[in-house]
């Protein structure tokens, strides 16, 4: 039997989160963070929330985008595009998207790692990319470091794109969310495997390709707007005991992102980035410890 107090508790939790969020956003406003940047962070949270939602419905995800190495790959592609091609936001998005699509194909088709291997693969990819581009970036002087800082904080939040620039990606996000909500049961059944889904191989392949493209687009938008500032949405979502886990998780992530902006202001952006990345790994380890299946099937 459900606890009748649950509903009241949920309302209190969500109201508290909204209140904290307003306070933090207000502090950021007083710290002269541009309003468009706050909106861009909100857009990032929105994309990230959809990514988390899709990951919980489709794909049986256990690693978030930092742990999988997607954040490193996307950041690398964005940096390479800005440094060697152009800082045009659409080109930046395109480069991020193509690299993440290729990385997803590499992950899913070429190596198809097991749960634990996924984490190791992510760490390896991060180490390789760090050794490839951090040294030349540091050698490139302060301008390169400033570019990197912007990318890690969320490129589009930092470069202050205009409101109209957000419309296309937001439209995409709304479409992806609507589609995933409308096909929620079908995607959940597909996540149980082809045997249970029962569709023909061509249908399953088409859905998998479509979902890979949507996921890559969302990850690109998340990295573009949010950088490395929130890499634990999956665990917040899984650990939530709320009756509205999606909404509660999205608000918690938004609160964290606003807090990280304040942290970056009072300490340094790199400290905030490190704090966020560490939080991501700590929550990952906590969740991995807590997520125990008692029987030997999984």
């Amino acid at each position: 039997m459900r606890n009748p107090m649950m509903k009241k508790n949920d309302i209190i939790e969500i109201a508290s989160l909204v209140a904290v969020l307003i306070i933090l956003a207000w502090i950021n406003y007083l710290l002269e963070v541009p309003v468009i940047a706050l909106f861009a962070t909100g857009a990032g949270i929105f994309f990230y929330y959809i990514l988390v939602h899709i990951s919980t419905v489709y794909g049986n995800a256990s690693c978030d985008y930092i742990q999988t190495g997607e954040a490193a790959v996307g950041s690398f592609a964005i940096y390479a595009c800005i440094r060697f091609v152009s800082a045009n936001p659409y080109l930046v998005l395109l480069s991020g998207f193509i690299s993440l699509l290729l990385y997803d194909i590499y992950l899913k088709i070429l190596i198809a790692p097991e749960k634990n291997e996924r984490l190791l693969n992510g760490i390896l990819v991060q180490a390789i990319l760090a050794s490839i581009f951090l040294y030349p970036a540091a050698g490139g002087g302060t301008s390169s470091l400033a570019t990197l800082e912007k990318i890690f904080l969320g490129f589009f939040s930092s470069v202050q794109i205009n409101y109209t620039g957000m419309i296309a990606p937001l439209g995409l996000g709304i479409a992806a969310l609507s589609l995933s909500l409308a096909l929620y049961p079908e995607l959940r059944l597909l996540s149980q495997g082809a045997f249970f889904f029962g569709g023909s191989r061509s249908v399953i392949t088409a859905i998998n390709i479509g979902m890979t493209i949507i996921r890559s687009l969302l990850t690109t938008a998340t990295i573009g707007f949010l950088g490395w500032m929130c890499g634990f949405g999956l665990y917040v979502r899984y650990l939530s005991r709320s009756r509205y886990p999606g909404l509660a998780a999205a608000l918690k992530l938004y609160v964290f992102a606003e807090f990280a902006i304040i942290l970056a202001h009072y300490t340094s952006p790199w400290f905030a980035i490190a704090f966020s990345a560490c939080s991501s790994y700590i929550l990952f380890l906590y969740y991995a410890k807590k997520r125990k299946y008692w029987y030997d099937r999984y």
């Binding site: 049961p185 079908e186 959940r188 149980q192 495997g193 299946y293």
Partner: protein, 256 residues
């Protein structure tokens, strides 16, 4: 109804199912027995449409085998050792997902879908586990959940490949009750193969004995006798009668 005509299946040049012709009527529970490698599982898989490279014809519910997956799922539901891959799904939600072939795209599940899921939760005594995640269910309960998932689809034909594996006596009793209930209205049928000959003998209306890909014998449970067991399984056994329903029970001689 399932109508099978001259069904044969070869894999790598080896004949696995050999020229089977049979008609299985609605309202029946068919038990397929035979020693390991006799072709039971392949026979079921072929009927389920899992192996298309066969010769002969199979029609289920007067509809020939179709490539339309939705129609196929409504016609035939196949239970095997396949494992659901997402352990975070709750049992109830997983069971409800079995109703997807009836669900229209972009529309929610109907009240009837939920009612059927509830009914099988209750029938297989799974109510107290409904909100548990698949990854945390005990083995026997998990198996029962998988069986419920197969039955909830309410297909014209349910094919069960070794459903008795890992089931305790409580689960066996519940499964038997659920299968009886499934065919009770006379518009659906069940074919199951199992290595548990006694469960088959107690549950099935008709037995098919498979040997080297052929149906060697068929009939009611009364065809089970010591000679038959010796012929098809190569072991000595004695047959007694169940005190409750008089159906045969097979006992093996313990090794001395």
């Amino acid at each position: 109804m399932i109508d099978i005509k001259n069904l044969s299946l070869s894999i790598n040049g080896r004949l696995i199912v050999h020229d089977i012709t049979a008609t299985i009527n609605d309202g029946e529970i068919i038990g397929v027995i035979g020693k390991t490698g006799s072709g039971k599982t392949m026979f079921l898989k072929t009927i389920a449409g899992q192996i298309p490279d066969h010769t002969g014809s199979i029609s289920v519910g007067r509809v020939p085998q179709t490539s339309d997956q939705r129609v196929k799922s409504i016609n035939v539901s196949y239970y095997s050792r396949a494992m659901p891959q997402n352990p975070d799904e709750t049992l109830y939600n997983f069971l409800l997902l079995a109703r997807i072939p009836y669900k229209k795209f972009f529309r929610p599940f109907t009240d009837y879908d939920r009612q059927v899921a509830e009914e099988y939760l209750s029938l297989l005594n799974l109510d107290s586990f409904r909100d548990e995640k698949l990854g945390t269910l005990p083995d026997g309960i998990f198996k029962r959940g998988m069986l419920a998932h197969t039955l909830i689809r309410e297909s014209s034909a349910v094919l069960l490949d070794n459903p008795t594996n890992d089931l305790d006596i409580v689960s066996l009793k519940l499964l038997r009750r659920a299968l009886m209930r499934y065919v009770m209205d006379g518009d659906r049928l069940v074919i199951m193969c199992s290595n548990d000959i006694n469960f088959i003998a107690q549950t099935a209306d008709t037995l098919l004995v498979m040997d080297n890909g052929r149906i060697a014998e068929s009939g009611t449970a009364d065809i089970l006798n010591a000679d038959m067991i010796k012929t098809y399984f190569g072991i000595d056994a004695i047959i007694s009668r169940n005190v409750y329903n008089g159906k045969p029970e097979v006992h093996f001689f313990p090794d001395l």
